[in-house]
């Protein structure tokens, strides 16, 4: 009987967010099912439920018809569910064989590990996979691609392996390495394993997948045999969203002024190079896939990452931001990408979270904070940004995601900035709050503040920006006037060229 993995109405909540909304789909053995969707569509949450990292709040997860409940990844692995992540999950100091049988190494008298047996079994699988490595090789001496193979073989070495999922497996592989990965995937498929393949790369999915399941905003949109759907249709399903009205009703009329920010050949350890300008009142959109280098640009500007080359000019003066503190003093502020890890101070009150960006201004020479002014900043933030909270004393973590984010924007606008950087400002926020944000962003630009908007949501970049820069491979690869651009054009620039293997 072929293996079958089934999700029935799986729903998963995080505080303030519904990450998966009644997702139902089936993956069958003997076919490769690709999962596609924009960043934040729910693919990673789904993988984590598959491998027991998370547990669903509602719905059923069936493996071969049996309802499953994994309390942790260990239980899922033991049940024959394997997920291969981008980050390696193997022990670099151990040998290939040891890694493959870690946690169930055969032992003899006094717990002595039967190493010969391990290597014998391991070598058999290596040969079966047709790979040029030895079971006795240390993993740290292998290439990244082979390390990944070790992980696959580790999952494969369990006789009960039913499903194997790959999360962006080709991200760090070369052309030939990708080919051998695909060969192995075909082998697993022929053996009737369920294969789930998560990737952004269209060409790859066409090469390897049989069927594609599309996700959007935590919902399953639909699936289709891969040869019955065109790239255009796929992209349209991934992005299609009823936000059109919201954007057309935005009042974007404003004066665009002089250049405020001039970034010249900026480099960092995580960024190849970036040059661009931002004018007063202008919204400059940054488009591109995750890890295209968008966040890295703004982190280098604000001193969150070290600058290794290039110059940043603000209002005609060269500035040097070694730390975020320097950037804030210069009037460059950032609403970071990950609200939870980089934005909010969870158990601090809403009011203090808003005022924490203005500590320098709030403190007198002895460092004593003007409590009245602090409370005013909190209250102004709450009113100006319509933050829904019964009182400002409430810990910010108890607010919904959208209201938390409004508080972070309020934090930075209360510092009276020149440049406001918004990195994925509406990630994980419901549609209602999103449209509020869009109006807010337009108002901010009208005040003459230069806005840098990073977003993976194409309608958002198109609907808000005056000018759009597209990034790929840690550099800017194109610039489009927002009025002339389409979603398809942006996604094509970000995905198609160069990134395709082979």
């Amino acid at each position: 009987m072929p293996n079958v993995i089934e999700f029935r109405n799986i729903t998963k909540y995080f505080p303030g967010v519904k990450a998966l909304d009644s997702v139902s789909f089936t993956a069958r053995g003997g076919e490769v099912l690709a999962l596609m969707g924009e960043n934040g569509a729910g693919k990673s949450t789904l993988l984590k439920i598959l491998n027991g990292d998370y547990q669903q709040d509602m719905g059923e997860y069936l493996v071969n018809g049996q309802p499953c409940h994994f309390n942790n990844p260990r239980e899922a692995v033991a049940a024959g569910i394997g997920v291969i992540y981008q980050e390696r999950q193997i022990m670099l100091e151990l040998t290939v064989g040891e890694n493959m049988f870690l946690g169930r190494l055969p032992s003899g008298l006094f717990g002595r590990i039967k190493m010969n047996e391990v290597h014998e079994k391991a070598q058999k699988i290596i040969d079966e996979f047709g790979l040029d490595m030895k079971s006795t090789d240390k993993v740290k001496d292998l290439s990244v691609a082979y390390q990944q193979m070790v992980e696959i073989m580790k999952a494969y070495s369990r006789e009960n392996l039913k499903m194997i999922a790959f999360d962006e497996p080709t991200a760090s592989l070369s052309g030939t390495e990708i080919e051998s990965l695909f060969r192995i995937i075909q082998k697993l498929k022929a053996e009737g394993k369920v294969i789930i393949y998560v990737s952004h790369r269209m060409a790859e999915i066409r090469d390897t997948a049989d069927r594609v399941a599309i996700f959007k905003d935590g919902c399953f949109v639909g699936d289709s045999p891969i040869h019955e759907i065109t790239d255009e249709e796929l992209i349209q399903k991934m992005v299609g969203r009823d936000l059109g009205d919201i954007f057309s009703s935005l009042d974007k009329k404003k004066e665009i002024g002089e250049v405020i920010l001039d970034v010249r050949n900026l480099k960092s350890p995580y960024l190849k190079e970036a040059s661009f300008v931002v004018r007063a009142g202008e919204i400059v959109g940054f488009s591109g896939l995750v890890s295209a280098g968008r966040t890295e640009v703004v982190r280098a500007i604000t001193g969150a990452d070290p600058q290794t080359g290039g110059e940043v000019w603000l209002d005609g003066k060269k500035i040097q931001c070694k730390t975020p503190h320097d950037a804030i003093r210069n009037g460059i502020v950032m609403v970071p990408e990950d609200r939870k890890l980089q934005g909010i101070i969870p158990r601090m009150s809403v009011g203090r979270n808003i005022a924490v960006g203005s500590l320098d201004a709030l403190a007198n020479r002895l460092g004593v904070i003007n409590s009245r002014r602090e409370a005013e900043i909190g209250l102004e933030g709450k009113q100006n940004f319509n933050i829904k909270t019964p009182d400002l004393e409430k810990p910010i973590v108890e607010l919904s995601g959208g209201n938390q984010q409004k508080a972070i924007v309020a934090r930075w606008l209360s510092t009276d900035p020149r440049i406001l950087i918004l990195d994925e400002p509406t990630k994980g926020i419901d549609i209602g709050a999103k449209s509020e944000f869009y109006n807010m962003i337009c108002d901010i630009a009208k005040r003459g503040i230069g806005v840098i908007l990073i977003s993976s949501e194409l309608p958002e970049v198109l609907g808000l920006s005056d000018r759009i820069l597209v990034m790929r491979g840690k550099q800017i690869v194109g610039e489009i006037d927002a009025a002339d651009a389409t979603e398809e054009e942006l996604l094509t620039m970000a995905m198609m060229e160069g990134a395709v293997y082979g």
Binding site: V17, K18, I345, M348, L359, I369, D430
Partner: protein, 331 residues
């Protein structure tokens, strides 16, 4: 604004601590009728100065996500140093005390360097100092306690304001420090930075806060407070003892945690910690007065910290569960 809500003068956690303190008092009073007497209660206050002063530093430190296991050793070193210097030099006792505190600050600086520059976890980094400074204390006196004869210094340990039945000077000193540092934590930029770093270090950094500088100040502060505690102890014992205060950091950590200072950082207030200090000292003194052996006292101490940590854990978990339940209802 919600006008109907009546604000209590104490928070929920403080209320629980007051009840616990009352309970401990009632139990030990029942077991030993000398427990609930003016003299003994003052004695408890006097003894609490050591834990109290140290807990101020420890509170700041834990709130940033740090910790300090070297406080007891540093206190012993400072006590021995003062005793040694009073004998070996003719300097004024007050000046000697200041020098002892200044030298002890080096312990804080090295702790901070290990944590911020070498990325060593606070427990291990301060374990290094724990051993080194205890060693310095023994080396300074060759393992033998140094007795103190300086009248001015001994008077500092025993003097009372308001006659022989009045309030000890050291208790007043502790109260003054509680007030000053309570204000710093609640009302200054430095205090706010501590909350921010402990709450979310990366968010604090991106909000322009220099976390390493704040942490360094907290480590140095803790060592200086521990030194002050060690000096007070020496003055009260008429000698500098190299084996003194082996549990100082332990009791101070317990007091801070009982006082609602979360071990994950980011939460705490000095008024609650004061109650935690009183609870720990009332507990320790009570055990002494009902003749519980010092071996069993170690067990009891451990259990008290365990109880405190368990309460902290359940408090966090209940909160997290409530939050998720709220999200599920509203989304």
């Amino acid at each position: 604004m919600d006008k109907r809500k009546i604000k209590l003068p104490v928070s929920g956690n403080q209320f629980v601590l007051i009840i616990a303190l009352a309970l401990v008092t009632v139990i030990f009073s029942a077991l030993n009728k000398n427990y609930f007497t003016y003299t003994n209660l003052i004695n408890i206050l006097v003894s609490s100065t050591l834990i109290g002063l140290t807990s101020i530093g420890i509170t700041f430190l834990i709130m940033t996500g740090g910790n300090d296991l070297s406080a007891g050793s540093v206190a012993a070193f400072a006590g021995v140093f003062v005793a040694w210097a009073l004998k070996a030099t003719s300097m004024n006792w007050f000046l000697i005390g200041l020098i002892a505190i200044a030298i002890s600050a080096v312990a804080g600086v090295t702790n901070a360097l290990m944590v911020t520059k070498l990325n060593i976890v606070p427990f291990i980094a301060t374990l290094v100092s724990q051993s080194i400074w205890r060693g310095f204390a023994y080396l300074m006196c060759d393992g033998k306690p140094i007795s103190i004869a300086d009248k001015g210094f001994l008077a500092f340990g025993k003097a009372r304001i308001g006659g022989t039945e009045g309030i000890p000077v050291t208790v007043i000193l502790m109260i003054v420090f509680f007030v000053i540092f309570g204000f710093i934590l609640a009302k200054t930029k430095f205090g706010r930075s501590i909350f921010a770093i402990g709450g979310n270090a990366e968010a604090a950094r991106l909000a322009g806060i220099n976390a390493n500088r704040v942490k360094t100040i907290c480590y140095v502060m803790t060592s200086m407070f521990a030194a002050l505690a060690g000096i007070i102890l020496a003055a009260r014992m008429n000698s500098g003892q190299p084996s003194a205060s082996p549990n100082l950091h332990f009791d101070a950590i317990t007091a801070a945690n009982l006082g609602g200072v979360s071990m994950i950082g980011g939460i705490g207030s000095i008024p609650s910690v004061i109650l935690g200090v009183l609870l720990v000292q009332a507990f320790n003194s009570g055990l002494n007065m009902v003749n519980v052996s010092s071996y069993w006292q170690y067990v009891a101490r451990g259990l008290l910290l365990f109880a405190s940590l368990a309460i902290d854990f359940y408090r966090q978990r209940t909160r997290a569960k409530k939050l998720l339940a709220d999200s599920m209802k509203t989304l």
